[in-house]
Amino acid sequence: MSTVWERIGARGDVSARRARTYGLIFLGVGLLIFLLFARGATADQATTFVLTPSGESQALPVPDLSVPSLTVLYGFALVCVFVGGWQLARGFRRVNLALGGVAVLFVLAFLTWAARDRSMNLTGLLSSALLRSVPIALAGLSGVLCERCAVINIAIEGMMLTGAFIAALMGSVAANIWEWPSWAALLFGLASALAAGALLGLLLAVLAVRFKVDQIIAGTAINILAVGITSFLSARILAEFQYLNNPGIFPRFSIPLLSKIPIIGPVFFEQNGLVYALFVLLIVTHVMLFYTRWGLRTRAVGEHPRAADTLGINVFRTRYINVTLGGMVAGLGGAFLVLGSVGRFDELMTAGKGFIGLAAMIFGKWMPFGAFGAALIFGFADALQTKLAILEVPIASQFLLMAPYLVTMVVLAGVVGEAVPPAADGQPYEKQ
């Protein structure tokens, strides 16, 4: 038995060890910037960051930022080393903030190195990063809704895929057969995708809440079914009748005033309606979860269903509602892939975004905005990888694609404090 007590006793110095780890990581990042980037640049090279988007934009123009590559890289490396030294010697009170800052410095150093002697459109990069992160953020939000009431939703991938397929099919039917105006057809496609997501969410809820089937088995089965059905039907229907796979795309529109802000404006406020829908959903979910009765009940069901039940909260109903809502949000994520970015359905077009969304949810500690922040990181890595191919950077794109997963795992592995899921996560509730 002694081992248990030893472990509990050993907990005291965990925070000290963690603080040390942080310091060493910061120092390591500084060293990496020096070894990887600074040594690859020469004194006469300059990096140009373009800060106005290339296409049409309402943003106020900003002059391009041109910096001497080597000096900036040495500067970044020194800052990281200093931050690391400070962390080891004195310690930061808000160490996660320092970690974020060092991470941003590392990325900036990487960009400075990659675009030395060239120019890089930073606004364009960030804008494409946001677009790529939207489906991941929606998947993460769907995960938050489900897991806050203790149902693990591993079927997000399948729900997104189904939503994407239905959005393409129904949107096209409305636009090209019934000949509705394009806005009505797009909205109809969106609504159908939400309904499809809700149905799959309901299926998962019935399996997980009523039948108390293992939630991961149920989710995996839904995923594989969704992959099979959408591939089969798209090969049978969409491939043969091209007009059934052409629902159109939600148009981009600028939000007055906000879109004029340099850099931020074109990135966040010159997007299409589904991106704004994500922003609204994030705020609504956050407020609902933490400032309303529904949210308190949801969290109570997730943390201690028995206590919630004793106080008269209907555990089953709460879970049914939340998982169905989660399915709808996942369906929205699928609809975004079709109606918000590509404009057509392709087999397996979600390509693991549902799973990455779950990782974003954990990374973001089961918080809506946390999940969004993590999704931005994944989206950024994805956007960067395509950009670097253009810049002819001598790094195999496979490694850049791997990087977000490696980073997630390193981060999940306890660097950013332990991510604690809702206490009853994954356990079916048995009424007594």
């Binding site: 248990v4 995996t220 089965a221 079914l225 099979g228 089969f232 999940l412």
Partner: protein, 355 residues
Amino acid sequence: MSWKLKNLLLSLLPVLLALLFTTAILLAVGASPWEAYRNILEGAFESPEKIADVVAACVPLILCGVGMSITFTAGQWNVGVEGQIILGAVFATWVARSLPWPRVPVLTTMLLAGMLGGALWGVLAGLLKVYGKVHEIFGGLGLNYVAQGLAIWLIFNPWKPADGATMSGTDPFPDPAWMPRLGHLRVAPLAVVLALLAVVVAYFLLRGARWGLELKAMGKNFRSAFLLGVPSTPRLLTAFAACGGLAGLAGAIRCSARYGRMIPEISGGQGYLSLLVALLAAYRPQWVPLIALFFAAVGVGSPRLELNMHLDSSLGGVLEASVVLAVIIVAGWRALLARRRAVVDLVAAQEKEAA
């Protein structure tokens, strides 16, 4: 109705439900269900060549399914099998490309190296779980992507063929690194023997050995097993190593016996399929070959749909997934009824006592 007959009917019910569901989809797209099922069956069993293909397709499913039964028994969701297959194939390919030995030593080394590669990748997921507190599902999925990236990088950079890298993979292995096949049939007897051996060994290990019983105890209740003195960390890591080793063996067999080279899609979704195999086999190694046979037959038979009926072969996936879904729905429904009955019995007993 006798109890046995009822149980038999109830276990056939999911298959019927799944067939009904698939039939509905086929009717909805205006294809003949009867023709479709006949084509799948013929595509899988019409000739000795086809049967050999089915048996060959069983091998990785059996190996990974048995491996997953081991980790499932310990209560772990090892969804990293896909990556473990890839790493096995990578290690085996390295051996095949760099060791110019005769057949027996090179094949033995390849298979062992494959097992080593898969086991290392499995243990990595286990280490992340134990020391990093990363849930094995996310660790496994992440490692899958990393393994996939690594395989593509290797194929496109150090291992690229002289006439340029393509998605069709590396140059074929030298002859000794090909696993011998049975005549003109595309099945390697050695691979089948190894798969069945894995079933037998895993069956006895999980049934009678102390190691297996300790894994079972951890799967039932991790905390009480730990408190009762099961060395949980080493057991967990060995379970991951065993599963990874079997998956890596499957990867080595796929590149040595099936493709004769390393290809980017060497795992080909076998990891996720074998997850379903292990589920349907209720994590018992002895049932894995039977379930794997079903999945392999559907997999080998459904391309026939494209040839003869212009139906996409993903119908096979629909059939497989709906069987799984129907099985869990029926099982969940029966469990619900059983719980209700238990409550009714309890109330009746209490009333009797009160009276």
